[in-house]
């Protein structure tokens, strides 16, 4: 296998530029905010220090860039969108902090984006692992968004900055304030705390459960899960702080800790999404290369080999489902895929029916494998399944034909044995009796009966000779006892035309192969004798697991050779033994019958 480039150059050309443009745009986006307001202090966490400010900026950008990558590199659509939205939400507090901005913009930053961040991160983490499509996941998300919306609206319409003794910065008028009498800000603050705690718990739970499946060192999804746990822990801490230390000041160690944990977790989550995007893309590329490498009619097993190579798992096996039940490999041979320790089974479906099961090492991600089979690859897989089914049918048919012939052969052997051991012995004993009777008659001087008995003796002997001939024709005993070479030599001795046999070095072979080869030669000799052929040369050799038989028929004196056709009986016999037969016309005018029989 020649080393292939990890990424096809054409793919890089295709998607490289848009990625670069998008990443550039995402990186530039928040910079005017920083420059325009209060240098690094413009970032919410900038209050902690310049390093925190840089990390703050990097985290938001990481979410934006990861979202762009996920969207471009073919991860599920909503992952990219959610990551970008989370990135926007991340900069919510900064919008709020922009003093020259419109009050409405600041209010959106304050009331919509800040509380939305945990919900979006929760959704993002769930989307990466596919939990958002499950029923319980959906319920959780609806609850999270609904709760966030209620708290956001509730806070927005009741919040009065001057009433908020905990926010020293908040000297602005809330343009959304409509009902100063509707619940006290304190109640909404407690509601927000409860919501945040719930959200934090959900994040930790989601991250933790995903970590049980994919460890961070195995798959980038583990990195996302780790980030989710971090974000969840930070969110839980914030919920607690909202109640216990409501004065939000990043100079306070607990709040600073919250900020740093949140930054770390979110950064990890963003990096994980980016890594998932790259992994997905690499995977898609591998699968695309498999599809590209498939010819119109690939040889059986090509798909399995390509997949094993793409996944770096040489032990990978594909088992195809047969309609009558059972599983076969690409060549139609029955196999039974098993999930053992270190081995996993991944079923693959097309149009709602299972077409194959992939048995692979556990290091290969099961869900990734199932997702990676795009429509084209599934069609190729289904095609190979149909062919495997045909091949299995063919193999069964061949086996059945071979069995029928084997039964016939066994029957012939039995018949031959019966004739020799039964009828011939009886005839021999009759011959003995006749001989003794004749000798007794001759000794007794019975001149009349002696010759009579001699005639009977002659008839009995003729019968024995005829019986031997018939039994030999049914099945030559020498074939079973001594093998093909002696049997062919014996055939040549009986033949009415000269037959040269060269069968040196051919030892014993499987019974069915010897029987097939013998019958092919016997049939050919019979046909040639009937046609008036001059002579035959028979060569027999074993090589490469094949028994090769050649029967050369020299041109008749009359010049009329029979056509280069294989007699049907020979064709059937060779076919039943799984072999091939052809007739070649020789330049001398003769013909050469070539038979190859598998004998390994």
């Amino acid at each position: 296998m020649s080393p292939s480039p990890r990424f096809a150059p054409s793919t890089l050309l295709r998607i490289g530029p848009p990625i670069a443009v998008l990443i550039g745009a995402m990186l530039l986006l928040p910079i005017p905010d920083i420059r325009g307001s209060r240098s690094t202090q413009g970032l919410a966490f900038g209050a902690i220090g310049p390093i925190a400010a840089v990390l703050d900026l990097a985290t938001g950008q990481a979410l934006l860039v990861a979202g762009a990558m996920a969207w471009l590199l073919g991860v599920r659509r909503r992952v990219g969108l959610l990551s970008v939205l989370a990135g926007v939400a991340w900069f919510g507090p900064d919008l709020f902090a922009l003093e020259q901005a419109e009050p409405v913009v600041r209010a959106i930053g304050r009331f919509a984006l800040v509380p939305l961040l945990p919900a979006l991160l929760l959704h993002l983490a769930m989307a990466v692992s596919g939990l958002d499509d499950r029923r319980r996941g959906r319920i959780l998300l609806v609850a999270a968004y609904l709760g966030t919306a209620i708290v956001a609206v509730g806070t927005a319409i009741t919040y009065k900055a001057f009433q908020d003794g905990h926010c020293l910065d908040c000297v602005w008028s809330n343009p959304l304030l409509v009902a100063s009498g509707l619940g006290s800000p304190r109640i909404w603050r407690l509601a927000a705390a409860a919501l945040v705690i719930g959200m934090g718990a959900a994040l930790v739970a989601v991250g933790w459960s995903e970590l049980q499946v994919s460890r961070p060192w195995r798959h980038p999804r583990g990195v996302v899960a780790t980030g989710a746990v971090g974000v969840g822990a930070a969110t839980l801490l914030r919920g607690v702080l909202l109640v216990l230390a409501p004065q939000e000041s990043f100079l306070d160690p607990p709040w600073a800790a919250w900020a740093l944990i949140l930054i770390g977790g979110t950064l990890l989550l963003g990096a994980g999404v980016a890594a998932v995007a790259v992994a997905t893309w690499r995977w898609t590329e591998r699968m695309r290369r498999i599809v590209d490498s498939l010819e119109a009619a690939p040889r059986p097993g090509t798909l399995e080999m390509a997949l094993a190579r793409a996944l770096g798992d040489p032990t990978l096996r594909i088992a195809y489902t047969l309609d009558p039940g059972g599983m076969v490999d690409a060549t139609g041979a029955p196999i039974e895929p098993k999930a053992t320790s270190g081995r996993s089974l991944t079923p693959l479906e097309r149009a709602g029916r299972r077409i194959a099961v992939v048995e692979h090492g556990s290091q290969v991600e099961r869900s990734a494998l199932a997702e990676a089979f795009g429509p084209t690859l599934l069609v190729a897989l289904d095609n190979e399944r149909l062919r495997a089914a045909r091949l299995a049918q063919l193999a069964e048919l061949r086996a059945s034909r071979a069995r029928i012939v084997a039964v016939g052969d066994a029957e012939r052997r039995r018949l031959e044995r019966d004739l020799h051991d039964g009828v011939q012995q009886q005839l021999l004993s009759i011959l003995f009796d006749l001989r003794r009777a004749r000798l007794a008659a001759e000794r007794g001087g019975d001149v009349g009966r002696g010759p009579q008995l001699a005639v009977a003796e002659g008839r009995a002997q003729a019968m024995i000779d005829e019986l031997r001939r018939v039994a030999h024709g049914i099945h030559p005993a020498v074939l079973s006892r001594s093998g093909l070479g002696p049997a062919l030599a014996s055939l040549a001795e009986d033949s009415p035309l000269p037959v040269e046999v060269a069968a040196d070095g051919v030892g014993r072979l499987p019974e069915a192969v010897e029987a097939a080869a013998y019958q092919v030669v016997a049939e050919t000799v019979g046909v040639a004798a009937a046609d008036g052929a001059e002579a035959l040369t028979v060569t027999v050799a074993v090589g490469g697991g094949m028994l090769k038989v050649g029967v050369t028929r020299e041109p008749s004196a009359g010049g009329a050779t029979s056509g280069a056709e294989v007699p049907v009986r020979i064709e059937d016999r060779v076919g039943a033994a799984g072999g091939t037969v052809i007739v070649e016309a020789l330049p001398t005018g003769g013909t050469l019958l070539r038979v190859e029989l598998p004998c390994a």
Partner: protein
């Protein structure tokens, strides 16, 4: 002459025993399989054994196997293998493995008392005998590249009689010629088959093997 008969079919065995007794041969034991034959030979030390080629347990070539064992363990005992098969391959196998003191005869040959007695005597003398039917078949083969092609028809006939186990004198009688003529033929045959340099008895066996292999 003391003989053991090994034949698993009781009817045939008794027939053979009766025929041999009629011919004045002392049958010291009659057995039904190879193991019993070897045991009986060890006890009775007969001059010769008559053994069926197929016996229990496998009914394949037990007779040939037993012949080899007996010839190795008891060189003083000649072996006549009785066969249902007109199969030169087996005659060749028998003589190749045991160049002395064996005969390959068709079953019905036991009824020819004179022939059978002659064969028994010959194997006891250490010579080899091939059934005339098989010799006839060997000489009647049609072939294009015959190793025996250099032999004249008469020489082929003589070689056939050698294979049947006939002595030079018996051949002379059979062909109604003088002993000297037969000797001349034999010298010619050995010369043409490239067997001049070997001792006489061995030379005859080699000539027979040449015929069987041809």
């Amino acid at each position: 002459m003391r003989v053991i008969v090994a034949e698993d079919v009781m009817l045939t065995r008794e027939g053979i025993v009766r025929l041999l007794a009629d011919a004045g041969v002392a049958v010291v034991a009659g057995v039904g399989d190879g193991d019993a034959l070897l045991a009986a030979v060890a006890i009775h030390r007969p001059d010769a054994v008559l053994v069926d080629i197929r016996m229990p347990p496998t009914h394949t070539d037990e007779g040939l196997v037993a012949a080899g064992l007996i010839r190795t363990a008891f060189p003083g005992t000649g072996v006549v293998v009785l066969s249902q098969y007109v199969e030169p391959a087996w005659a060749l196998q028998l003589i190749e493995q045991n160049p002395e003191g064996v005969a390959y005869l068709l079953k019905e040959r036991v009824m020819d008392s004179a022939g059978l007695l002659d064969a028994l005597r010959r194997v006891i003398d250490g010579e080899t005998v091939v059934d005339p039917t098989i010799v006839a078949r060997l000489l009647g083969r049609k072939r294009r590249h015959d190793p025996l092609a250099t032999l004249t028809d008469r020489e082929r006939e003589v070689l056939g009689l050698v294979a049947e186990g006939l002595s030079n004198r018996a051949i002379a009688t059979r062909l109604v010629v003088t002993d000297r003529t037969v000797e001349t033929h034999m010298t010619a045959i050995f010369g043409k088959l490239g067997l001049e340099e070997t001792p006489d008895v061995h030379r005859r066996v080699l000539a027979v093997l040449t015929l069987l292999r041809a």
